[in-house]
Point group: C2
């Protein structure tokens, strides 16, 4: 039996016990994990130091190093996030439908865990604990496969969580780490049907595309965000400037940041210089179409086709002057990854058209795209943001980690 | 551009118009289709005769020929099924959640069509119309890829439906048929990301496994049903005999028919001969474990390991005597395709354990597995029965063909 199938087998058998666990048993386990992370801080930080040392030797950039780095305060944050998950309402075993049929059969539809959730992710060690906690609360075993660069940290975190479970009613096997970070093992994990019920990739475009192309296990595609803001002719100028600036610069590295500004030709002359002025405060580079360049001059550089397809994740924004809402919607249809799009407008008709006609996970009128987030949307926690249409779309909370089951009770009914 | 991408492009552009259609526009289109199928009966039957002739020449068996055959009465049934779909409530644009956040953002979650649904299916031409109607009602364009043996019938049915749409507000392009029934085209269809939002295979195990293994488009796995009935020690004998007989013989070719009977050792001596006696009325073959053979003698033949893994789809049943509910649940866990399982019992505790611990789409107490069906469950119609846990599980009605979208309206909110 392969290394991964052994892990899968352990996860599967733990998943059954976990699926039957009571709410208090799961919450106590989560609180034990939070406690253990804090009291085991020294071991975790030592392991993290090993990862950081190797990463530095390998020339990892400072932004990436920062994502990889743990310290006392961050471990406290991670532990508190686990406590927050414990405080969320029980998602499993909820009756979400049902009826008594004419023949007396009673049909009830209830929520059940998915079973075993596989998560393939990159660098940030907090994801390890976050995903394990959300899976545990939703009654799912998890198989975590983090990046090579964080393997010591992840191993220490998982070992700490597993030990914490030993004193609880929840089997330690429900949190599994794939310590072999080779590409072959990742590829095998994507095809581990029969052991993994759903695979969630969390990371960059390359990782997500690789999982989508290669997995035979059902996948929830997350994250890629080529988001748009369309500033309509009737937009209030202050509001437009604030929203574009916030969507681009408040945190440019995240998936709900805007990448392309579309602006109505009738307000571009007046508004583009204002927007450019505000963006210059953060030294944001503007890559514009010909009309943009004609208005902004040397403040902007020329945009190429590729720029409209790119999730910059940085202080760069593509700009295109459009003839109106039809062209804006067509542009979004062509280039968007269907994550989040916003219109800034005072037109009732255009607000309504944008909401109905733009086919993305979250569509906004007069608000920043930066709000697309499980916490902000009131989901309590987030396992990722789905950009596919199947199963879950947009920010995924605990309920995205559930399936359903029909329970049917009768008194001897047969089909005639 | 490839043949399939052209089809995909047409479906995608029609899907947009269809997604914005009003309920009456969709229902009128469905009624036009029903009408056209009846008035175009001669053309359809002529095409079907061509398929039947070729199938006979190729030596197709009589059961398969019967599935392929259309006649006036069947076309009337197909048209009436379309009228029933028209009569179902509108599934699109339903608000299924929402709240006003503390910052004043109003978040509303609404149902939206998936977009373009691909369906790969075998032989029965009624599936062509059925799927097209359900997709249309749920606002989805469809790309239908039926089997080679029904290509003339399918082409005639689709052409008839498309012509019927010409006089309506719904674009004919929303029903697309893949007329090239080569394996290569099917393989390309499974990887048509960007054009197809979800792929639903309907047919035998081979077809479904091929789609699951090869598709990069999200898939809803349907149909395979290795279903079990466990007759517990406390079962009422009459009820057990009726349920086993109904689940096996009322329609053995369908996915919710039972394939393996598990029976408690303490009632096997008395009950197995009764069950065997009833099954003999339909000449059902019994393949039993050693204990079964010891009880039934020559009425049964020996079962091999493979028999417990097989969806016979025929008048054959595997039988195993088990020590009790634990062994029954373990057996189901090992061999089931997680479709439908039933327990026959008078034990409150065992009924509860079976419902909670058996991880299948539908679990039954004291009723036949044959009830797992969209119509019977009150869904109004059925596009298939999902045996996966993602997106939909069990019988899938119109709501399984939907996704959701967050619509967020504000007054200039930015994230701080």
């Amino acid at each position: 039996m392969s290394y991964l199938k052994e892990i899968g087998g352990r996860a599967k058998s733990a998943a059954f016990t976990l699926s039957q666990a009571l709410t208090d048993e799961k919450n106590n386990a989560l609180l034990s994990i939070a406690e253990a992370l804090e009291s085991g801080q020294d071991d975790i930080l030592a392991a993290n130091a090993g990862d950081l040392k190797e990463a530095e030797q390998n020339g990892m950039g400072s932004a990436m190093l920062d994502r990889l780095r743990l310290n006392g305060a961050r471990i406290k944050e991670i532990a508190d996030a686990v406590r927050n998950v414990a405080a969320l309402p029980e998602p499993v075993g909820k009756t979400i439908g049902g009826e008594t049929r004419p023949n007396g059969l009673e049909i009830v539809k209830v929520t059940v865990p998915l079973g075993v959730v596989g998560i393939i992710f990159e660098s940030r060690p907090n994801v390890t604990v976050d995903c394990a906690a959300l899976c545990l609360k939703s009654g799912n075993a998890c198989i975590l496969r983090g990046g090579k660069e964080a393997i010591r940290s992840n191993a220490a975190l998982v070992s700490c969580m597993q030990k914490a479970l030993e004193g609880t009613k929840i089997p330690p096997g429900c949190i599994q780490l794939v310590e072999d970070t080779s590409r072959e093992t990742a590829a095998e994990m994507m095809r581990l049907n029969g052991y993994i019920d759903v695979l969630i990739p969390r990371g960059g475009k390359g990782l997500i595309q690789s999982v989508v192309r290669n997995a035979t296990v059902p996948v929830i595609e997350t994250g890629a965000g080529n988001c748009h803001v369309f500033v309509d002719e009737s937009a209030k100028h202050d509001m437009a400037v604030n929203i574009v600036n916030n969507a681009k610069t408040q945190r440019p590295s995240v998936c709900n940041a805007v990448e392309t500004l579309l602006i109505h030709k009738n307000c571009a002359d007046a508004l583009l210089p204002e927007i450019a002025g505000r963006l210059s405060e953060s030294s944001t580079e503007i890559r514009g179409c010909e009309k943009t360049l004609a208005i902004l001059g040397k403040v902007a550089v020329p945009a190429c086709e590729d720029d409209y397809m790119t999730e910059f994740g940085d202080y760069i924004i593509a700009v295109k002057v459009v003839g109106g809402i039809d062209e804006a919607i067509r542009h979004i249809e062509k280039y968007s990854t269907r994550h989040s799009e916003a219109i800034v407008t005072e037109s009732y008709e255009n607000s309504r058209r944008f909401l109905r006609e733009v086919d993305s996970a979250a569509v906004y009128v007069n608000a920043s795209t930066r709000f697309t987030d499980g916490g902000v949307f009131g989901l309590g926690a987030e396992i990722g943001i789905s950009t596919q249409k199947l199963h879950a779309r947009g920010p995924m909370g605990l309920t995205s980690l559930l399936s359903t089951k029909y329970m049917v009770t009768g008194s001897g009914q047969i089909r005639v």
